[in-house]
Symmetry: C2
Subunit: 514 residues, 2 copies
């Protein structure tokens, strides 16, 4: 081990030096997060160009601090003789610092710059292609991005499949082969279930969700949403909620500052509420991380999939449940005295759970959602490994839509062009949505085994037990345990799709009297 005289002498001192150095990276990250939040909420429109320059500077500084030879030397020394026990916080810190350092250094600057340029050109091309429903306008950009994603995967390195390298960026430890098994299981049971639901629904005279339509004052919606989020346990003294075009949750550097955003649909009562409960799930996770992990590699949620488990848990398992509406429908009626006259809990519960195949992923229901993801997962794996060409992509999309959802999009704007992800170079991201769905039920069941009273509490608008269980088993650990360690610790077994499928089958068999 080559060491300069001023390198700290003990492992303890080295760890302190590493943590100190990384704090700068995290604080620069917080500044970038605040700039992003501001850009989506309150920034004056003319400042777009200026802000992008500022963000580029902060991103460069952050990279410089992370990849410095001092960081490398310190991490290497910590990994050497007397390395901290991997099971301890110190061990996790070194492991996560190494992961960040490797990710930041494995990609040559030229590849990073080329990728940034390609996606920034692809964005407006994708917007135009979608507007005109003309895939040809986007195809050459997508080809370039896929090539860059392949090169990225080669630089990052992988065991079995290049897709694993990309997946790992969003879901550490996840592998394509394992995911395929999960998706296969989902496909085998959800596709026939959906067919039975669709058949049953076709015999109904009116759409179940028609009771959700009307004219709903935004201020009244906001007040109702706020009261629900307060009940769930989202802490307003450590967060806030603002209006944006596309909802998100963002952590500005620590559990003391985790902000939600949402948007209000004046014509539909459920949109803003479920969006907000979803984002509050993300938010409570970030707010619940051990404050001692702030500004260290242990801070923040561990993966996209675990994050999504929390948003889906509060959106679907809580928000689309009978006990929830037995408590909140009367309150919703108080907030909107003119609406929902004569609508009972059961009708409302059926309305917020209507399953209906559609073209658009973000408008899809709990049952069809994973089929949208499955399709994208299969296609992006094939694109990355080169068994599907970009020119064949729209046909492949439509063929799978028909097979899984029984629909063929009228045009590519309603099909292959609907999502922003690929134009932004986000390959390997989609499957984390389904991982989140699967894990939400596995975690909920584990909480229920410890506390069978959870549904009863939900029916009284209390969520301390459920949130407390998540806090204890998931939130507080931040990024300390990778998902493959965290999930068995929390639930006693590795990730498994069975509880999720049982939940879906039971719920929708009951809902549609199958």
């Amino acid at each position: 081990m080559q060491e300069t005289p001023d390198t700290p002498a003990t492992q303890e001192e080295r760890l302190a030096a590493l943590t100190d150095r990384l704090r700068t990276v995290y604080d620069l990250g917080a500044a970038q997060a605040l700039m992003h939040w501001d850009q989506e909420t309150y920034m004056p429109p003319q400042a777009v160009g200026l802000r992008s320059e500022q963000l580029a500077t902060l991103s460069r500084l952050s990279h410089e601090h992370l990849v410095s030879p001092e960081t490398e030397a310190t991490i290497s020394a910590l990994e050497g003789k007397d390395a901290p026990d991997p099971k301890t916080e110190a061990g996790a810190t070194v492991r996560l610092a190494r992961r960040s350092f490797d990710r930041a250094t494995k990609l040559p600057e030229s590849l990073v710059a080329e990728s940034a340029r390609a996606t920034s050109l692809a964005q407006p091309a994708w917007v135009e292609a979608r507007q005109r429903a003309d895939f040809a306008l986007f195809a050459p950009h997508l080809e370039g991005i896929i090539d860059l994603q392949r090169r990225t995967a080669e630089c990052l390195g992988y065991g079995d499949h290049p897709y694993d390298a990309l997946l790992d960026l969003y879901e550490p430890g996840a592998r394509k082969a394992a995911l395929e098994l999960v998706f296969e299981e989902l496909k085998e049971r959800i596709v026939p279930l959906l067919a039975r639901v669709t058949e049953a629904a076709s015999r109904e005279a009116t759409a179940r969700d028609s009771v959700l339509l009307g004219e709903f004052d935004e201020a009244a919606q906001e007040a109702f949403v706020r009261s629900v989020l307060t009940d769930l346990g989202y802490r307003w003294d450590r967060g806030r909620q603002d209006r944006v075009v596309h909802a998100f949750c963002i952590n500005i550097g620590g559990p003391e500052d985790v902000r939600l955003t949402t948007n209000f649909s004046p014509a539909r009562i459920d949109k803003a509420l479920f969006t907000s409960m979803h984002e509050a799930g993300h938010g409570m996770y970030e707010q619940g991380v051990d404050p001692a992990y702030s500004r260290t590699p242990l801070g923040g949620g561990v993966s996209m999939g675990v994050h999504e488990s929390q948003s889906r848990l509060f959106e679907n398992l809580v928000g689309r449940s009978r006990p929830f509406w037995s408590h909140y429908l009367p309150r919703l009626k108080e907030a909107f005295p003119e609406a929902f006259a004569g609508v009972g809990t059961e009708a409302f519960y059926r309305a917020v759970n209507e399953a209906r195949p559609g073209f658009i992923r973000i408008d899809s229901d709990e049952l069809t959602y994973n089929l949208h993801i499955l399709l994208r997962f299969e296609l992006e794996v094939a694109l990355i490994e080169g068994t599907l060409s970009v020119s064949d992509l729209p046909d492949a999309w439509n063929e799978r839509m028909e097979r899984y959802l029984g629909l063929v999009p009228e045009n590519d704007a309603l099909g292959v062009l609907q999502d922003v992800h690929w134009s932004a170079g986000l390959f390997g991201y989609f499957p984390t949505y389904t991982l989140g769905n699967v894990l939400s039920v596995q975690l909920y069941q584990a909480a229920l085994e410890d506390h069978p009273e959870i549904p009863t509490e939900t029916a009284t608008g209390r969520f301390e037990t459920l949130r407390g269980w998540m806090e204890e088993h998931v939130y507080r650990h931040g990024s300390r345990y990778d998902p493959e360690d965290l999930i068995p610790r929390a639930t006693g077994r590795p990730l498994t799709a069975a509880p999720y499928l049982e939940y879906l089958e039971e719920k929708f068999t009951d809902l549609y009297a199958l």
Copy 2:
């Protein structure tokens, strides 16, 4: 000149390298500005500690980038053979970069740290002292801060007087000796004028400003304020206005993002309006700087005094003028149909210009304001030079209050403890308020000489000519010219108090029929 091989070879390349390096400093400054803005407007309360850590990191990074040996070498090389003409933008860039570098390097880190610690401890002590009206609680802190300010002045260096070194931080080129002449002139003419006004006012049965009192809906106030600011020419596509406890204007890195803040008093119609016009004066200055100066030393307003000239100009010379209210009173009555019945332009004009000696600077009127500043200027000069001790300060304050304003505060909360500045180590800052007042009239008169139609335009709610003149002669130059160059360029002569005094005498002689 010692140069390493990779130092740029030509002066042009050196200038580009310097500008490039400083851009990082300005972008870090923009991130800090956004964090400050956010802290005052929307940040969750529990994030205070986290935010202060983040700000400390950004401040340290910014300092490190500014004071690096590379910066010094580049500036020195630029100042050497073939130095750019000081009259050019390049020359100004080098001059200003040198000033920033010297300020950042002349103070030893230990002194900076000691000052930060002293003021952060002094803040809560001052708050408590003011709450209890007990100067003794604050006195030891103030003694420490004055000692640190003296040491700061010694490190920065000065010609005649240590106060000059502090003054220069806020008003480059200003000198105590010159300021004393200005203040002497103001004192000689304002003190007797105020005495005559007070005597005349004492014969009036009711307070003139009673017509401004009532109950005013905040949303209606906000809409009215917004319409006035739009008319003035504040650009909402490059800014915004939010609510805070203490109003301010902040530039988030360039003319495309300059934000105002204000607060609304439900019981008084004039507070939010004049506060907003004041901040919009600052804001239009920053919005009007040549965009090519963005992220360089030439960007942003040049000094506190020139800045205050713009805020005072729009607050007082425009906002408290007859032509302004001949146009806006009818509009105010439309916004508040219940209020101001039977109040004419003249009565309203008199109401917003009521002169009445009071204890509190921030509540004072156009006539008495400078006496509050004069008193502080005299006292802080004496404190810095050591001719006044902290223990004698409250008596000296009260003695001067009686001499200049004819009042003695009942307690120190209404006297020497009222302002935050000294507890924050801001010595040399107060006089820039009066410089701004003086300069506002000098600039307004110069604009009027070029465009005698300005008051007529004001009376129709149009301000393009006035704002256009300021843009041409002040705003667009940013920091390129120091005030001592900028003022003669804009007005044809150096700073002079005569026009300001004539303005005050004419206005208040007329208002009080002296």
